[in-house]
């Protein structure tokens, strides 16, 4: 299932977001990561890639990540990004 398809199925589950993110990362950085792995500390992704991550999450899940939500800690791990997606989706739908 792609992230786009995942976004259509409501409500989205943490598992679906995690799986889509892991697939996205595996494709983009050519290596598989763990859900709690620090993507920045391990030097796996550059800050430039981080920008691509922001845009990807916004488009895949129809959310707006703005202001204080753009902090690095929200993107540091797959778990953190999943939590961010779920929280912003809930806020949008709520």
């Amino acid at each position: 299932m792609t992230a786009e398809q995942a976004a259509e199925a409501a409500p989205i589950s943490a598992q679906a977001v995690e799986e889509a993110l892991l697939a996205f990362l595996a494709e983009r950085i050519k290596t598989s990561v763990a859900v709690d792995q620090d993507l920045f500390g391990s030097g796996l992704v550059s800050s430039m890639f981080a920008m691509q991550l922001v845009v990807h999450l916004e488009e895949a899940y129809d959310i707006a990540i703005i202001g204080p939500e753009l902090k690095l800690d929200n993107f540091r791990t797959v778990q953190a990004m999943t939590a961010l997606v779920l929280r912003l989706s809930a806020a949008r739908d709520g």
């Binding site: 983009r28 992704v45 550059s46 800050s47 430039m48 890639f49 981080a50 920008m51 690095l72």
Partner: protein, 359 residues
């Protein structure tokens, strides 16, 4: 006083009976038309790019251009059998120029009419006008900056870079390391500011702070001991990117205030914004200073907002901001804040930079 005409940034040449005398398919030894070589070199020196739209066999035509010693001047040549308006618009798109910044020269009225019909903003000239082009106002930029003269070189280096990236199959960061990128940050002098003026004039620039400083204002601050005006240049193994950024920083004890940060779109893909900010944070940490940055959202600087936030800037209040002459509240300007701590050097490029704390 009449408005100054929009400057031509790229001149697109027809080949047969325009650039050279005769038709290549009939005469394999065609010679250049009068004055063509001088006009091309003169416009190139003014920073105007050259391209080609010609109905011809690509290999034959390109070989002939090489033989005539002109091939190096052309970017994105369109040589084939399609419509000329498509070719001209393709060139505009690849260069990221508006059609109004493109000129087209062709001996055939039907071709000029076709381009004019499909792309009315493109300015068309008959072949008889070749020698007159350098005298026209639209081909005469008021200021020719150092970078304008090197623009062709930078575009061509960019094409080679893109071609390699397409064939490179791996993480972006790994690709960046293969480029041997070098970033040079320095205290600006007057000549540096001329290069930056080009950067701030170009529509493609990304002003991270969203706050505009005129060339005169920046020059006025060069000698001000409280302010540092810094310029950023980049290069890689394909060639120079030229002047790609400018910063205005006011340094006070305990607090450094970033008032302007503008970077060229050309270097966004290299993560230049993040590297610059990281360096600044590290420099501030060495001086035991916090950092404040003016930021105004525009519809084009989102990438830079992300760079600020990921670098650690927040909306949080801090005592260091009291009494700071920020523009906060005016025209939607925010003041972002960061308590600086030491940062590691970039892993994707070599950085040559001055010690800010020492000056």
């Amino acid at each position: 006083m009449p408005d100054k005409p929009t400057l031509v940034k790229c001149l697109v040449w027809d080949l047969d009976n325009t650039l050279w005398r005769g038709t290549l398919l009939e005469d394999p030894d065609v010679e250049l038309a009068d004055g063509v070589r001088d006009v091309i070199a003169e416009l190139d020196a003014r920073g105007i790019l050259h391209s080609i739209s010609s109905k011809n066999d690509y290999d034959l035509a390109w070989t002939q251009l090489e033989k005539l010693g002109l091939a190096e001047y052309f970017v994105f040549p369109q040589i084939g059998w399609g419509r000329k308006s498509d070719a001209v618009l393709e060139i505009a798109e690849r260069l990221n120029f508006a059609p109004g910044a493109i000129a087209f020269i062709d001996d055939l009225p039907t071709e000029r009419a076709e381009v004019n019909f499909a792309a009315p903003d493109v300015r068309c000239y008959p072949a008889e006008q070749i020698a007159a082009l350098p005298g026209l106002p639209e081909f005469s930029p008021a200021v020719v900056t150092v970078d304008a003269r090197r623009r062709r070189e930078m575009y061509q280096a960019g094409f080679r870079r893109d071609a390699e990236k397409e064939s490179f199959n791996g993480p972006d960061e790994e690709f960046l390391r293969t480029l041997d990128l070098v970033m040079t940050i320095k205290f600006a002098d007057h000549e540096d500011l001329s290069r930056v003026e080009e950067l701030t004039l170009r529509t493609s620039q990304m002003n991270a702070t969203g706050v505009h400083y005129s060339d005169a204002a920046l020059r006025g601050l060069l000698a001000d001991p409280a302010h540092a005006v810094l310029t950023v240049n980049m290069a890689d193994r394909f060639g120079p990117h030229g002047a790609v950024g400018v910063m205005l920083l006011e340094r006070r004890p305990g607090i450094w205030h970033l008032k302007l940060l503008a970077t060229s779109c050309r270097v966004v893909a290299f993560g230049a914004g993040a590297v610059i900010l990281n360096w600044l944070v590290d420099q501030a940490a060495r001086a035991d200073a916090h950092l404040a940055a003016d930021f105004r959202k525009t519809d084009r600087n989102r990438m830079m907002e992300i760079a600020y936030r990921f670098a650690g800037f927040t909306d949080d209040a801090c005592t260091c901001l009291a009494g700071l002459g920020t523009l906060t509240g005016r025209d939607g300007v925010q003041c972002l804040h960061l308590a600086a701590e030491r940062r590691a050097a970039p892993t994707t490029m070599r950085l040559d930079s001055p010690e800010l704390a020492a000056r």
